[in-house]
Symmetry: C2
Subunit: 114 residues, 2 copies
Amino acid sequence: MDENDSIEVHQDDFAAVQQRLPDEEVLYDLAELYKIFGDTTRVKLLCILFEGEMCVQHLAQLLQVSQSAVSHQLRILKGARLVKYRRDGKTVYYALADDHVREIIGCGMEHITE
Amino acid sequence: MDENDSIEVHQDDFAAVQQRLPDEEVLYDLAELYKIFGDTTRVKLLCILFEGEMCVQHLAQLLQVSQSAVSHQLRILKGARLVKYRRDGKTVYYALADDHVREIIGCGMEHITE
DNA sequence: TGAACATATGAACAGTTATTCATATGTTTG
DNA sequence: CAAACATATGAATAACTGTTCATATGTTCA
């Protein structure tokens, strides 16, 4: 049957694709990274920090959410090394960790504004 | 007090940042887009389709998940216009909708493999 | 040191989401 | 047309996630 041929051909594809497919762990990390961008509050935070560093209470004001909520989200962003922070007395200033964040946001923007 | 000065300066920042900040709607859409990439099954699907088109059952085999689960996820990807499909008899072949997906995945990869 | 302020964090709750199961739709072939 | 196959989809469930509330930690200043 050509049905079998078809299957064999596809099984070859499997091997090829499976080989070129990134490791399970990498794909997991990739999903975890995007998951972080997949929340309105966090995306807003990142976009704000796009303009420069800002302290927690001002971030909360701008986002119109509680200080606690912002802090929780900043913790997640910190954990993913997307933001860095510095302490100045009582206040803590957050900023983007590096330019990757800008690129990632830029990529997404291109898609939705096309 | 210089406390007041500080507040005034920051309020100016608010205005400036708020002005430069993308519209609420855009930020929502951006988060929605990334949300889609923020799932292991979907990221895997997209990575596989990176290599070329593939039919549903083979996608399910490669991902080691049920046909139903793949179909559900493909529906979401379809809804976000990240994949396209063509029917050939009984089987349906899915493929990446355009090169934006490649760029977005590429951006993320850079970040996690640095 | 203690009061006031800024931020962080744990627990709990509500809303969301991915998978499974059962079944429907659509297509080919005998 | 009926059987077999490929895919799609609705409902239900289990797991996950973001916010809130209460409180803890850390810092400054009188």
